[in-house]
């Protein structure tokens, strides 16, 4: 839902950084987006296309690397994949806070990133 404003911040940050390096053009941007964020990748791509128009980023390639969620259990100290609910009424797998090992309650320790990792610039 807030993909447009988030992507707008991403584009602004890249443009600012590119300016510091006196870039003539930005050729590509590498994002890392955690699967436990609420960002729809299709909407991010859509917003990106619109936002880069008439900037030195126009035509740049957007590479999105998805990162799995990581949880940690305080009871059995399991650290790893999230347990997903596979109830067919959800249609898409829904993450839960149940430990996949002992059934205890876990805490999210990874997968909430929205990171601009790098950009490819032409000077």
């Amino acid at each position: 839902m807030h993909e447009y404003s988030m992507t707008s911040q991403i584009v602004e940050s890249v443009l600012e950084e590119a300016k510091k390096h006196n870039a003539k053009k930005v050729d590509g941007v590498h994002l890392v987006i955690g699967k436990l964020t609420f960002l729809g990748l299709e909407q991010v791509r859509f917003a990106y296309e619109i936002l880069v128009k008439n900037t030195i980023m126009e035509g740049s390639k957007l590479h999105i690397e998805e990162k799995d969620g990581v949880v940690k259990c305080s009871k059995c100290s399991y650290e790893g994949d999230v347990k997903y609910e596979d109830d067919p009424t959800y249609h898409i797998p829904t993450p839960t806070l149940h430990c996949s090992k002992c059934g205890g309650v876990v805490e999210i320790v990874g997968g909430k990133e929205c990171l601009i990792k790098s950009a490819k610039i032409i000077v």
């Binding site: 940050s13 590119a18 609910e85 806070l97 990171l115």
Partner: protein
């Protein structure tokens, strides 16, 4: 000395940015939390569906707790101060936050609103978010506890249709229980849906018009 290495015209570079857009909000949220803690103020987020009774809940909590705590509220809405006025009539300081078009509050808006309050004269701060069961969960604001309000008039599938926000909450309030039968909503089923996603969440069933169940919310929040 060798010649300085310079970029040639048209040369391609990879620049590292390592800038996390969500982390920027998280950092501000941590600063807000530290500021509030320094002044001994506990902030509580109230998030939830449009028209589910977030403001009614805050009104009832303010009435119930006003002998015990000195309170204030932030009221997030796209436009208007209608709800802010509803809370203010109970004699607490309210700072309305109009987001214009944005679907959620963020830590920066809360930081600005905090500057309008005398934190030394407060114990408790309610932060009511924009009515939305999606985005607010992504943006921590600096609170100690988070409440999500839903109500039976939104139908029996509010939790299963918006599972993500329930992962990020401490207390879930199921409001308008007096209308459950007319709406043919099984409140126990809604409660089970919450527990399925977040076994740690505490659930309180309320009627925020009459005040029924509000005591349970107070208890669940440890107030």
């Amino acid at each position: 000395m060798k010649e300085v290495v310079k970029a040639e015209e048209g040369e391609v570079f990879d620049i590292e940015l390592e800038a996390d857009i969500l982390k920027a909000n998280e950092k501000l949220a941590t600063e807000n939390r530290e500021l509030l803690r320094k002044h001994g103020v506990q902030a509580i987020d109230v998030m939830g569906a449009i028209g589910s009774g977030k403001t009614s809940l805050i009104e009832k909590l303010v009435q119930e707790l006003k002998e015990k705590y000195r309170m204030a509220a932030f009221k997030g809405d796209l436009t208007t101060t209608i709800d802010a006025e509803l809370i203010a009539r109970h004699g607490v300081e309210v700072v309305p936050i109009n987001t214009g078009k944005e679907c959620h509050l963020d830590a920066n808006l809360v930081r600005k609103a905090l500057q309008r309050l005398d934190l030394n004269s407060l114990d408790l701060l309610f932060i009511e978010n924009v009515g939305n069961l999606i985005c607010p969960a992504e943006f921590p604001l600096g609170s100690e506890k988070r409440v999500v309000v839903i109500s039976v008039t939104e139908g029996p599938y509010m939790v299963v249709k918006h599972p993500f926000i329930f992962m990020n909450t401490d207390v879930v309030v199921i409001n308008k229980v007096d209308l459950a039968q007319a709406m043919r909503v099984d409140v126990r089923k809604l409660e089970a849906d919450v527990k399925r996603i977040n076994p740690n969440a505490r659930v309180a069933v309320t009627n925020c018009r009459s005040g029924e169940g509000v005591g349970k919310v107070v208890k669940a929040l440890g107030l």
